[in-house]
Amino acid sequence: MLLVGAGGLASSAALYLAGAGVGRIGVVDFDDIELSNLQRQIIHLPRNVGTSKAESAVRAIRDYNPEVDAIAYKCHFTSQNAMEIVKPYDLVLDCTDNVTSRYLINDACVLSGKPLVSGSALRMEGQVTVYHLYKDTPCYRCMFKEPPPKAAQGTCSNEGVLGVVPGIIGCLQALESIKILSQSGQPLASRMILFDAMSATFRTFKLRSRDKNCAICGDSPSITALIDYEAFCGASANDKPTPLALIKPAQHIVPTDYAALLLQHPDDHLLLDVRPALQFDICALPHAVNIPLPEIDSRIEEIKTLLESRTHGSNLSPAIYTICRRGNDSQRALLKLEALGFNSVKNITGGVAAWAQEVDPKFPTY
């Protein structure tokens, strides 16, 4: 069996597959372990932070069951290597965290004729299904012809996830994989389990049957070889958001410049932290005021009052500096404030993440 991704889903899946004595388990992941992974990726140990995830997973599998032939692929799973990697396996588990990889894995499975056990988890919800198992089983593309717009592609790094949720979904993926290989029971083909952790409910939905017009598994497929999936989905194959350039370079201020300014003139400006209140509660600059991006319009009077309190009777109009987690929302906030008539607004490039890296190593990052 091949696990694509060595994260939260793969953590529980890999150990149960190893426990069941699966002959060969391959693990593909290019990334290194980060401390922020450990909350859900329980296959990795704190002492291995900074080392390869794929190798760490394989070590855990071998430790748990030395009989298993465990193989690490420390590389990106790409259109160039996918077919070759998939070849020696009977079944593939999609344990990735982004839409781009899902299309690539799906297409590689269809083109090589392997069933795909797909799982995903976000926040307090998870889902699992088996694609492309029987003649009438749909593939991922039958279900989702077109990728969703990038803004609608939620990722764990933005929206969070409770570690147990991918753990549970990974267990179900392992279970379905074992059922398929041992040809027992009714596999979760053409059906999908939706797990809602908040209400502690599992619901099973019936899925459509294979789409005869599907671009890859239809009767006359238009895709006969792997394509460029990053171009197709308009998003890179990871769960990290890309930095945007929505404003002019002159409207940016780098964290070190802002820090210098802050030490000289600590109270002649307004630092507007536009992150959600939940994130502001995790950590914030001591003098920042939290007005989340969606609330700017309705709290405009509050911003004006705060600004007036910083003029200290002088005629100089104080500046507003916007900050967020990574520097994208704060650019949106800047544009919004400008549209509302504020003319002296600057954006702190890279957000609190850059502040922690470039100015204050004591500042927590999440």
Binding site: S12, L35, S36, L38, Q39, R40, I42, R123, M124, C156, S157, N158, E159, G160, V161, L162, G163, V164, G167, M198, T256, A259, A260, L262, L263, P276, L278, Q279, D281, I282, C283, A284, L285, P286, H287, E358, V359, D360, P361, K362, F363, P364, T365, Y366
Partner: protein, 118 residues
């Protein structure tokens, strides 16, 4: 025309040299040194954070969820008792990874069917 091209060429050459030097600097710079070389190695204004830097980084993915958040995570290090065995080892791992730090393994038989060794 010729002189303008020469001048532009020289400017670009110096720009390339500057960028290469920065690249080399970035490649050779160890992350620990970057702190000591930073213009603000010990920034005087401490952040407001109910959890430590390591805790925030470790539990970040659940801290940003409205269902758990910082308050939920802060409330978690309570005493929780679980029995020993296979079922409980999964739970113990999961609970440790969400921050339930004090776990007291005690024998508990009430949920365990007699013939199943779990």
């Amino acid at each position: 025309m010729y002189a303008a091209l020469l001048a532009e060429n020289a400017t670009l050459k110096s720009k390339v040299a500057e960028l290469e030097a920065r690249l080399q600097h970035l490649e050779t710079k160890a992350p620990v040194e970057s702190y000591s070389n930073a213009p603000f190695p010990d920034f005087p204004k401490s952040p407001i954070a109910p959890l430590s830097k390591v805790e925030v980084e470790r539990y970040g993915r659940q801290l940003i969820m409205r269902e758990i958040g910082a308050s939920g995570t802060c409330n978690m290090p309570l005493k929780v008792c679980f029995g020993l065995g296979g079922f409980h080892s999964t739970l113990r791992r999961d609970l440790t990874s969400v921050g339930t730090l004090k776990i007291l393994p005690v024998l508990c038989c009430c949920f365990r069917p007699k013939k199943v060794d779990c």
